[in-house]
C-alpha cells in the first residue's frame, strides 16, 4: 500500500478537523436560537439608536452588515486564535503535534468549520435584518462584492492563524488579549458606523484588521449613494489591500507557527496546563 502524499495528508487533516465542528453543530442545535435570533436582537439595538436620532435609513443597513460580520470576528478570536489554548488545556495539542501533519492544515480545518458556523449566524442576521427593517440595497457589482467578502474572510482567518501561534506559547494572557480585541475592534473597524468617521489616520491604522476595509468596501457596493460621502478608500484599492493582507497573514502565520512551536518546545510550554 502506497503512503499518502503530503497534499493528501494536508487535505485529509483539513477535512478531519472541519468535520467535528460541522457535525457537532448538527448534533445539538440549541445554538441556532442563541447564535441567530439573539445576535439579531443585539444588532437591532443599534438600529433603534439610529432611529432614535433620526439617521438616514442607509445607516440601518450599515449596522445590519456590521452586525452580521461580528460573527466572523468573534469566531476568529475565540474559535481560531484561542482554540489552541483550549486544546492545550484539554490535552489535544500534543496529539496534533505528534500527528504526521501540519498545524496549518489543522487551523485551516478549524477555519472551514468555523466559517460554516459563522456564516449561518451572519446570513440569519443579514437576511432577517434586511427583511425586518426593510433595508434597500442597490448592489453595484456582484463579482466585486463576492471578491471583497471572500478576500476579507481569507485575510481574517489568516490573521486568526497568526494569533493562534501566540497561544502555543502563552496561556491565559493571550486569552485576555482576545477579550481585549472585541469591543475596541468593533470601534476602530467601524462595525456600526462608517470607519471614515474616525478620521483617516485611525482608519488607516485599523486597516490592518481585514474586516475594516472589507466592511467599507461592502458598504460601498451595497449602499453606493450614502457611502459616496462616507467611503474611506476606493473599492479597487481595498480589494488590492485585502489581497495583500490575505497573502501576508497566511505567510506570516506559517512562519509564526513554526517559530512559536519551536520556542514552545524549547521552553517546555507546549503541554503546560494552567499557564
Amino acid at each position: 500500500m502506497s503512503s499518502p502524499t503530503r497534499w493528501e495528508i494536508f487535505w485529509r487533516t483539513v477535512m478531519g478537523r472541519a468535520y467535528p465542528r460541522v457535525v457537532g453543530m448538527q448534533r445539538e442545535r440549541s445554538w441556532l436560537f442563541f447564535e441567530t435570533l439573539l445576535p439579531l436582537l443585539q444588532v437591532s439595538a443599534f438600529v433603534f439608536v439610529y432611529r432614535a436620532i433620526q439617521a438616514p435609513p442607509e445607516f440601518t443597513g450599515f449596522v445590519v452588515l456590521g452586525g452580521a460580520m461580528t460573527a466572523y470576528w468573534l469566531n476568529v478570536l475565540w474559535s481560531m486564535a484561542a482554540q489552541f489554548y483550549w486544546e492545550k488545556e484539554t490535552g489535544n495539542l500534543e496529539l496534533y503535534i505528534i500527528a504526521p501533519t501540519s498545524l496549518m492544515a489543522i487551523l485551516l480545518g478549524m477555519a472551514i468549520g468555523g466559517i460554516v458556523f459563522s456564516t449561518v449566524r451572519a446570513l440569519a442576521v443579514m437576511t432577517l435584518g434586511l427583511l425586518i427593517f426593510r433595508v434597500e440595497v442597490s448592489i453595484v457589482s456582484i463579482p466585486q462584492l463576492l471578491g471583497v467578502f471572500l478576500l476579507t474572510l481569507v485575510a481574517l482567518y489568516g490573521l486568526g492563524m497568526l494569533f493562534s501561534s501566540l497561544f502555543l506559547l502563552y496561556g491565559r494572557q493571550a486569552s485576555h488579549l482576545s477579550n481585549l480585541l472585541q469591543e475596541p475592534v468593533f470601534l476602530v473597524s467601524g462595525f456600526y458606523f462608517p470607519v471614515r468617521a474616525l478620521g483617516s489616520v485611525v482608519a488607516l491604522g485599523a486597516s490592518v484588521i481585514p474586516i475594516t476595509l472589507g466592511l467599507d468596501a461592502m458598504r460601498q457596493l451595497l449602499f453606493p449613494t450614502m457611502m459616496a460621502q462616507f467611503h474611506f478608500l476606493d473599492v479597487r484599492i481595498e480589494l488590492g489591500v485585502l489581497a495583500v493582507l490575505s497573502i501576508g497573514f497566511l505567510w506570516l502565520a506559517r512562519r509564526a507557527l513554526s517559530y512559536m512551536e519551536d520556542l514552545s518546545r524549547r521552553e517546555g510550554r507546549l503541554t503546560l496546563r494552567g499557564q
Partner: protein, 285 residues
C-alpha cells in the same frame, strides 16, 4: 443543619468570588489587566459617541445622549455578570475539568456561581466607574455629586445586581445541559436584552409588542431608576408615570422572583444533566 448550610453557602460564595477574581486579575499581567479593564468599556462607550457625532443633530449636546450614555455604562454589569456566570459552568466543566469535583465537594453550587458573578461585578464596577468618569470629564456629561440621589442609586444598583446574578444562574442551567458551542450564551442574551430594556434608547421608540416585552423586564426599571438617580430624569415617556418608590418596589419584587425561578430552573437542569451524564461532558469541537 440550617446554620451549617448557611455557613457552607457563605464559604462557597466567598471562595468562588476569590477564585473568579484570581482568574480575572492575577492571572494576567497587571499592565494588560489595566488596559483590558479600561479599553473594553471605553471602546463600547465610544461606539455610541461616534454614532452620535456622525449623525445626531446637536451631536453630544442632544438631550438624549446623557440618558443613553448612563444606560450603556451600567449595562456593562449585565454583560459581564451574565457572561461570567454562564461561562463559569462551561469553563469549569470543559476547560478546567473541575465541575464534577464541585459536585463532590461540600459546597453550595448556587452560592458558588453567585460568587463567580460577584468577581465579575468587581471588575465591572471598575469599568462602569471608568466609563462614567470618561463621560463626565471628556464628554462633559453633567452629573454633579450634589444633585445625585445617592440612596436611590445604591438601592437600585443593589437590587439590579442581585437580579442579574440570578439571571446568570438561569443561563448557567442552560449551559449545564448544552454543548460548548453555547459558550457565548451570556453575550447573546445580554445583547438581546440590550435592545429590549432600552439601554441605549428610550423604549418608547420600540414597536408596541417589543415595548410590552421591555416593560416585563426588570432591567428596564433598573436602568430607569439609575438614570433618575444620576441625571434627575428618566429616558422617554413610557416609564415617567412611575414614581421612584414604585420603581424600587418593582426592582425588589423582581429580584425575589428571579431568585426563585432561577434556582428552580437550575435544579431542574442539574437533575437532567445528572440523568444524562452531562456534568463532566467534553465537547471539544
Amino acid at each position: 443543619m440550617t446554620r451549617q448550610r448557611a455557613v457552607e453557602s457563605i464559604r462557597s460564595l466567598r471562595m468562588a468570588a476569590w477564585l473568579g477574581w484570581q482568574i480575572e486579575s492575577n492571572w494576567a499581567a497587571p499592565f494588560l489587566f489595566a488596559i483590558y479593564s479600561i479599553a473594553k468599556p471605553v471602546a463600547g462607550a465610544l461606539i455610541l459617541v461616534l454614532m452620535y457625532t456622525v449623525i445626531a443633530q446637536g451631536g453630544l449636546q442632544n438631550p438624549l445622549f446623557p440618558q443613553i450614555f448612563v444606560g450603556n455604562a451600567f449595562y456593562i454589569y449585565v454583560a459581564m455578570m451574565l457572561i461570567g456566570v454562564s461561562e463559569a459552568v462551561i469553563e469549569d466543566r470543559e476547560h478546567y475539568g473541575m465541575l464534577k469535583y464541585m459536585y463532590v465537594a461540600p459546597l453550595n453550587i448556587h452560592a458558588y456561581l453567585l460568587g463567580r458573578g460577584m468577581a465579575q461585578a468587581i471588575v465591572a464596577t471598575m469599568a462602569v466607574l471608568i466609563t462614567l468618569f470618561f463621560g463626565i470629564i471628556v464628554l462633559g456629561i453633567p452629573m454633579p455629586p450634589a444633585s445625585i440621589d445617592w440612596g436611590m442609586l445604591f438601592a437600585a444598583w443593589l437590587f439590579g445586581l442581585v437580579g442579574v446574578a440570578f439571571q446568570g444562574i438561569f443561563l448557567g442551567g442552560i449551559c449545564l445541559i448544552t454543548a460548548r458551542h453555547n459558550y457565548f450564551i451570556g453575550e447573546a442574551v445580554a445583547g438581546a436584552i440590550y435592545l429590549l430594556c432600552g439601554a441605549v434608547f428610550p423604549i418608547d421608540v420600540l414597536p408596541k409588542p417589543l415595548q410590552l416585552v421591555g416593560q416585563a423586564l426588570p432591567l428596564t426599571y433598573w436602568l430607569e431608576a439609575l438614570r433618575r438617580a444620576l441625571l434627575g430624569t428618566g429616558a422617554g415617556e413610557l416609564l415617567s408615570p412611575l414614581s421612584d418608590r414604585v420603581l424600587l418596589l418593582i426592582l425588589a419584587g423582581s429580584m425575589v422572583l428571579l431568585a426563585v425561578l432561577s434556582v428552580a430552573f437550575y435544579r431542574w437542569a442539574e437533575n437532567l444533566a445528572r440523568e444524562k451524564g452531562l456534568i463532566d461532558m467534553q465537547t471539544m469541537y
